[in-house]
């Protein structure tokens, strides 16, 4: 049994400690907002926050989350997150939507540490997240929009 804290709630899960956090969240805890895209840490669809830091859920063994605060897309509620989601809504960023949980988790983490990101900051923080619908221009605009609303 592994004890995890996800979105402020504690869960005891019966999984091998090397099971990726992504699959524990999706298949065991039942939070399916975090997505599987590549399984090799190359697409960012599985991005979650571990103690506020964005990590790839597919590359993070469940054991690495013991004692940490895990936050998923379902657990976003602070001011930065609300600003990001509002900007996504205002600009209608999404298309198929499958990558957007990961995009939003990366964007929230960026704005949490940098309230005025430049385009280069956005490139650095967001280039680990693939969007095959190529909503990148709107993601960029939405991050600037969220930054403005947080100022």
């Amino acid at each position: 049994m592994i004890k995890l804290n996800v979105n402020g709630q504690s869960h005891e899960v019966d999984v091998d400690p090397d099971t990726p956090l992504l699959w524990v969240l999706r298949d065991t805890v039942g939070l399916t907002g975090t997505k599987y895209g590549c399984g090799v840490g190359a697409c960012g669809a599985c991005t979650v926050h571990l103690n506020g830091v964005p990590v790839r859920g597919c590359q993070t063994p469940a054991s690495a989350a013991i004692g940490a605060q895990v936050v998923t897309i379902e657990g976003l509620h602070d001011r930065v997150a609300k600003a990001v989601q509002a900007a996504w809504q205002k600009l209608d960023v999404v298309q198929c939507g499958y990558c957007q949980s990961g995009q939003i988790m990366s964007a929230v983490a960026l704005l949490a540490r940098n309230r005025r990101p430049s385009d280069a900051d956005i490139d650095d923080a967001m280039s680990g997240n693939i969007c095959r619908c190529d909503t990148y221009s709107r993601i960029r605009a939405a991050i600037h929009e969220a930054a403005k609303s947080l100022a």
Binding site: V15, D16, T19, P20, W23, R26, D27, T28, G30, L31, T32, G33, T34, K35, Y36, G37, C38, G39, V40, A42, C43, A45, T72, I73, E74, L76, Q85, W88, Q89, D92, V93, V94, Q95, C96, G97, Y98, C99, Q100, S101, I104, I122, D123, M126, S127, G128, N129, I130, C131, R132, C133, D134, T135, Y136, S137, R138, I139, R140
Partner: protein, 724 residues
């Protein structure tokens, strides 16, 4: 204006929602799980198969088309809301069940989302659905208030009689309206009266997609469900000879290991356990009938074919002779690789077998075809295959599988365990990328001739590559006299006025499964035509824009987008400054696909060593009446990014028959830092709406290649683009 006969759709209770919670599914408001149980819409008003109005004042639009990102749910809602005069906020969307008698694509004849037709084929149908519902609500109000129907108005979801100050919501009138006959005729609005069409309204799927609640196939969890991960053959055409499941079964949690026609499936209650089991399998493959070629050998075969005449797709005048006699002539070969669709959601499918048939949960793009294929496997009737259409995490053509591969695989697995549990088949990214169904590889051989005044007088275009339509239900319609229309589209119908034109085709057969990929034939023909034409302009000593304009006198819509893109891009003005060692260039390309006209101007910066960036793309689009301009813009932006991934990186290679690329590190795609600024301009039009999902893709690669030529003088003949 239009007085149109209404199809008298029978009132049927075809959707029964709410079961999701009972099944323990994370239920998003927009996802409907069909099945048995209480009918929460018992009081609802369903004037036709596309609209339901509940007593709680919700208007539900039933979408016959898949929402895979291209904005269909929003577009179809717009059409209904327009004629119904609903308030945008009261409109929600549900995916339609599989039933071609009611939900066929009117252009394609079966229930299918593809060919950029969702809005185009539904434009009148969905408006009529809205207008019919409106007429019945008005009739119900007229009866209730004892006033003539034509003195009643409807605005923003309120039915109002100004004279008596009576007012009612749709919900108030739903029960009464449901008892009335369906009107035979309804009048649709004149475009001048449009309040929704042509304006930006927010997408219907945004809310659920920004908080994790949108349900994709990957997210379905049914009681007792097992997840299946499959070991597939390492080569196209290989089969299972034998397998040893002992080590797989020893993995804690593995529930079963079964052989199926396409490999060996390992089942477990969760994905990770099933995958661990799959990785422990040892399978002995029968590779006797397998493809052993590499892409280099395939290309060599294509070159041999290109030396011989093919099946003729178009022949005007005598192109061969005209090229030979021309004052100046050009020749070039173009090479295009296999491409994977690589949607963000790797392929997956949920199947539950029952006494009455089979139920499927899927980002379903091709209901009718899948129903028939599944029915054939199970020995049941197609209508016994119930399909729940969920959001698809991208597709770009892949989920409309031409041989129903992944859906049928899921059904085989469910059958192999005798239907004792529902099965969710999950492909890993590697499974997805190695499974073929690629955009075919092509070789184009081109020649053209210019007269002594620099006029283009001859054009020869030979294409070599696998037929996509061969062996599909579309073959009889799409393949004529040895010419698969999707192999030559964009080439045989090039708009430029050239006296002598020859387009011919070789369609060799290979074991690599190929399929339609966003923009299909235009994904390669546009590149060959538009870069070769650019080379001809250069050889004639003319500006590429003016050279094109002179050949387009009879094509005002082509000219319209070409001129608009050129003007907005500042064609002919110098590009802003460069740093030392950098060279900049601007390129233009024009292409009509799926009846939509798109021109793009790309600006590039080339750095020392040949690395380059695409800085900005100006895009002009003419898709007739623009139902939602913001969705059109989004599709152009997305199409440009998608086409740019192919232009910069896309390439599936084979070595000794084995697919060498299986995940994003080896098959890169455009990321945030490579995405150019995109400016989209939409031509005002009163023509019928045409599609936007695909037409943004074709012009970007040639526009970039032409810009690279302008910057460096290098002509590139091969995708992906590599400067020397």
């Amino acid at each position: 204006m239009n007085d149109i006969r209404i199809e008298n759709e029978s009132r049927r209770r075809f959707l029964q929602a709410g079961l999701g919670l009972t099944l323990g599914i994370y239920l998003a408001p927009r996802v409907v799980f069909a099945g048995v149980g209480e009918d929460p819409h018992a009081e609802a008003f369903e004037p036709n198969a596309f609209v339901r109005i509940d007593t709680d004042n919700t208007v539900t639009v039933i979408s016959k088309h898949l929402e895979m990102g291209e904005g269909t749910y929003t577009g179809l809602s717009t059409l209904v809301a327009e004629e119904l005069d609903a308030a945008w906020e009261q409109v929600r969307v549900e995916g339609a069940p599989a039933d071609a008698t009611r939900y066929a694509n009117l252009f394609l004849g079966s229930q299918l989302t593809g060919g950029s037709t969702a809005i185009a084929n539904s434009f009148e149908q969905m408006r009529r659905a809205g207008a019919t519902a409106r007429a019945m609500l008005v009739a119900a109000a007229a009866q209730r208030w004892h006033v003539p129907a034509d003195t009643i108005s409807v605005r923003q979801g309120m039915v109002v009689h100004a004279g008596t100050k009576h007012k009612a919501t749709f919900g108030d009138l739903a029960v009464a309206a449901a008892k009335l006959p369906v009107p035979e005729h309804v009048t649709l609005k004149d475009p001048k009266q449009f309040i929704y069409i042509g304006k930006r309204f927010p997408r219907k799927d945004t809310s659920a997609k920004i908080n994790g609640s949108a349900i994709f196939t990957q997210d379905i969890k049914l009681p007792g469900m097992l997840v299946a991960v499959v070991a597939h053959p390492p080569l196209f055409g290989a089969k299972v000879k034998s397998f040893d499941a002992q080590r797989a079964k020893a993995v804690r949690g593995v529930a079963d290991v079964v052989a199926i026609p396409s490999g060996v499936a390992v089942l477990a209650p969760d994905f990770w356990t099933a995958k661990k089991g799959r990785d422990m399998l040892s399978v002995d493959w029968d590779e006797s009938g397998a493809l052993r070629l590499g892409t280099n050998e395939i290309l060599a075969q294509f070159r041999e074919l290109a030396a011989t005449p093919g099946a003729v797709a178009r022949s005007d005048g005598n192109a061969g002779q005209a090229v030979a006699q021309a004052a100046k002539h050009l020749e070039a070969d173009y090479e295009f690789p296999y491409l994977a669709h690589a949607p963000m959601e790797p392929l997956n499918c949920v199947v539950k077998l029952g006494a009455d048939g089979c139920e499927i949960w899927n980002g379903e793009q091709s209901q009718t075809s899948d129903q028939h294929a599944v029915a054939a496997v199970l020995g049941i009737k197609p209508e016994q295959v119930k399909i729940n259409m969920l959001y698809a995490g991208g597709s770009y053509g892949r989920r409309a599988s031409k041989d129903n591969d992944y859906v049928v695989e899921a059904v085989h697995i469910a059958r192999a365990i005798n239907g004792r549990a529902p099965v969710k088949l999950v492909w890993t990214r590697e499974d997805d990328m190695r499974a073929g169904h690629y955009r075919p590889m092509y070789l184009h051989r081109m020649a053209c001739g210019l007269d002594d005044k620099g006029t283009l007088v001859a054009w020869q275009h030979r294409i070599v590559g696998q037929s996509i339509m061969a062996g599909t239900g579309f073959e009889s319609r799409m393949v004529k006299n040895g010419v698969d229309a999707t192999s030559v589209e964009g080439a045989h119908n090039l708009p430029y006025a050239i006296q002598n034109v020859m387009v011919d085709l070789h369609s060799p057969t290979l074991q690599v499964p190929v399929q339609w990929w966003r923009s299909v034939g235009s994904s390669h023909t546009a590149f060959a035509v538009e870069t070769f034409l650019d080379a001809a302009a250069h050889a004639a000593g003319q500006d590429p824009l003016q050279f094109r304009r002179a050949l387009l006198a009879k094509h005002p819509r082509h000219l319209g987008v070409l001129d608009l893109a050129a003007r907005k891009a500042g064609w002919g003005t110098p590009l802003a400054g460069t740093k030392a060692g950098e060279r900049r260039g601007r390129g233009i390309a024009l292409h009509k696909s799926f009846n939509t006209y798109v021109a793009q101007v790309a600006e590039v910066t080339v750095r020392p060593g040949g690395r380059f960036t695409v800085d900005r793309v100006v895009c002009a689009v003419d898709c007739g009446i623009g139902v939602n301009p913001d969705v059109i813009r989004a599709q152009m932006e997305g199409g440009i990014g998608f086409g740019l991934s192919a232009a910069l990186y896309g390439e599936i290679t084979l070595r000794d028959g084995e697919v060498e690329k299986s995940n994003f590190p080896a098959y890169p795609v455009v990321r945030m830092r490579e995405m150019p600024r995109v400016d989209v301009h939409i031509v005002e039009s009163q023509e019928k709406p045409t599609g936007v999902g695909e037409p943004g893709v074709p012009p970007i690669a040639p526009a970039v290649a032409n810009a690279l030529f302008a910057a460096t003088g290098q002509r590139l003949h091969k995708l992906p683009l590599r400067l020397a």
